[in-house]
C-alpha cells in the first residue's frame, strides 16, 4: 500500500481544518450550527477568481512564481477575497441572523442558515454556471519527496499557508484583546458584558475572521482541485466532523480534527474504495458524539 494517502489526507485535512476553525468560532460565539459556512468557502474561491480575472484583465497576464501555478495576482486577489468573504458573512448576519438572534431560538437560526446556504449556492450557479472553473490551467508536476509520496508545489505552498494561518489564529486568540474577548464571549456572554466587552463587536469580528478563513480554504481547494458552486457545501459534513471531533471552540482541535478526518477519508479510499469516502466523516462524527461529546479538546458544556 502506497503512503501517498498520508500526503493527500494531510492536505485535505489542512483544508478541512481551516474551514472548521471558522465554523467552530461561529458555533461557540453565536451558538448555532451555521450551514452557510460551506458556501462562504465556495464564495471565497469565486471572489478570489473574480479579483484575479479583473487584475489580469486590467494589467495583463502576470508571470508565475516558478514552480507554482500562480503569480502575484492570486496573492493580491486572495487577500481581497478574504476581506470580501468576511464582509459577505457580516452582511448576511446583519440581514438575516441578527434580527433572528433577538428571538433567542437556536433552531430558527440553523434553519435560516440552511435557507441562506441554498440561496448563496443558487446565486453562484446563476453567476458562474455549475461548470467547474480554474485559477490556472497550468499542469503541475508532482515532486517525489521519499517513501513513494509525491506532492505538487501548489500543495506544499498551501500547506505552508495553512500552518501560517493557524499560528496567526492561535496568537490572535491568546495575545490580543479581540481574541481574548472572543474566548470570553464563547464561555460566558453575560460575564463578558460585565467586564466591559462589547458583544456585538465581538460577533462582527467573528464573522469577518470566519469568512476570511473560509475564503482561504476555498482558494486552497480551488487551486488544487477545481472551483464549483457545490464545492463548499460538499465539505460541510467533514467540516462539522472536524469541529466536533476537536471540540467546539478549540482552534487547535478543529485543525487536528480536520487532519484526522482528512487522513481517515484518504485511508478509507485505499481500503474500502472511494464510494464510501464521505461516510468516513459521518462515522467519525457519530463515534465522537457517542464516546466523548465534548470532543478531543473541548471544555464541558455550560
Amino acid at each position: 500500500m502506497s503512503l501517498q494517502f498520508l500526503a493527500d489526507g494531510l492536505f485535505a485535512g489542512a483544508l478541512i481544518g481551516l474551514g472548521a476553525v471558522g465554523l467552530t468560532l461561529t458555533y461557540s460565539i453565536l451558538r448555532f450550527s451555521n450551514f452557510t459556512h460551506g458556501d462562504f468557502i465556495s464564495w471565497g474561491a469565486y471572489l478570489a477568481l473574480g479579483v484575479v480575472s479583473a487584475l489580469t484583465g486590467w494589467i495583463g497576464p502576470a508571470a508565475r512564481f516558478m514552480p507554482f501555478s500562480f503569480g502575484w495576482p492570486l496573492i493580491v486577489g486572495g487577500l481581497f477575497a478574504m476581506a470580501l468573504t468576511g464582509l459577505l458573512a457580516l452582511a448576511l448576519d446583519a440581514a438575516l441572523f441578527k434580527p433572528l438572534r433577538r428571538t433567542g431560538h437556536g433552531i430558527v437560526m440553523v434553519i435560516a442558515s440552511f435557507g441562506a446556504s441554498l440561496a448563496l449556492r443558487a446565486m453562484l450557479e446563476f453567476l458562474f454556471t455549475s461548470e467547474p472553473a480554474y485559477f490556472s490551467r497550468a499542469i503541475q508536476i508532482a515532486i517525489p519527496i521519499g517513501f513513494g509520496i509525491r506532492v505538487t508545489p501548489d500543495q506544499a505552498a498551501m500547506m505552508g499557508l495553512a500552518l501560517v494561518v493557524v499560528i496567526a489564529m492561535h496568537l490572535l486568540l491568546t495575545r490580543t484583546h479581540i481574541g481574548r474577548s472572543m474566548r470570553a464571549v464563547s464561555e460566558n456572554p453575560a460575564l463578558a458584558r460585565v467586564v466591559g466587552i462589547d458583544v456585538a463587536a465581538v460577533i462582527r469580528a467573528t464573522w469577518l475572521i470566519g469568512g476570511a478563513l473560509a475564503c482561504v480554504s476555498g482558494i486552497m481547494l480551488g487551486l488544487t482541485v477545481q472551483i464549483r458552486p457545490q464545492m463548499g457545501f460538499d465539505l460541510l459534513l467533514p467540516l462539522f466532523a472536524a469541529a466536533i471531533l476537536g471540540g467546539i471552540g478549540s482552534v487547535w482541535g478543529a485543525i487536528i480534527g480536520g487532519l484526522i478526518v482528512g487522513i481517515a477519508e484518504a485511508g478509507a479510499v485505499q481500503v474500502i474504495g472511494s464510494e464510501y469516502r464521505s461516510a468516513v466523516a459521518f462515522v467519525l462524527l457519530i463515534a465522537m458524539l457517542l464516546v466523548r461529546p465534548r470532543g478531543l479538546f473541548g471544555v464541558r458544556e455550560g
Binding site: 484583546h177 474577548s181 474566548r183 470570553a184 460575564l191 458584558r193 467586564v195 466591559g196 466587552i197
Partner: protein, 252 residues
Amino acid sequence: MTAPVALVARDIEAGYEPGLPIVKGATITVGHGEIVALLGPNGAGKSTLMKAIAGLVPISRGAVLLGDVDITRTAAHRMVRRGLAFVPQTENVFTTMSVEENLVLAGHIAPAGTRAARVAAMLALFPDLARQRRLAAGRLSGGQRQMLAVARALMIEPSVLMLDEPSAGLSPKLVGEVFAKLSEIRASGVTILLVEQNARAALAIADRAYILADGRNRHEGAAAALAADPDIAAHYLGLGGADAGVGGRIAP
C-alpha cells in the same frame, strides 16, 4: 467637586419580562466610601435590583445616578468605563482562562501603559492568586475564585464595587476572609454595595443596610441598629433562632 453621593437608585422598577416587575419601586443611596448591604428574604428583589443597576436587567421606571452621571440606560458593557464594577454571584470568572488572563482581559479599558502595573497590584493584594497566576481559573477553589472575581472587578479602579452574594457557597472561615478583604478594599477608598443572604456577616462590615421585601424598601438604617433590633432580626435576617447565623443556611 465630588458628588454628594457615590450611587443613587431612585424608585426603581425592573424585571426580566415587561409588565412583570420583580423590583417594584426601590430606592437606595450609597455615600462615598461607605459599605452598604442590601438584605431581605429570598425573592425580595435584591439581586435583580443590583443587576438592574449594572445594566443587565431592563429598568422600566426610576433613575440610577453614579456620582452625578445618569446611567439608567447605559449598556452593561459601558458600566466599567463609568467606574461601576459588578461581581455576579455565580460564574463570575472565565474558567477556561488563566488567573492572569482574567485580570488582563478586565483591565483592557485602562491606558495601555498602566495595565501590567494594575495586574501586579492585584496579585500583591491577593497573594493566593499570585501563586496560581498561570492556573486556569476553573481549577481554583471556591474561595480563590471569589477573590479572583473581586480582583477582576478592581482592575478597572472602580468608584463603586457591587457584589452579589460574595459569601455564597463559602465556608464560614472563607466568608470571614472575603469580608475582611472587602473592608480592606473600602479602606483604600472604594465604595461598596453588596447583596447578602448572610446578614450577620454583612452587617458586621457594613455601615448601613437596606432591607427589601417584595421588591420594595422595608427598613433601612445603620447596620448596628438593624442587627440589634430583635424584631427585624427575627423577621428578615434569619438571626432570630439561636442556631441560625453564619453558614446556617442551605446554599442554593
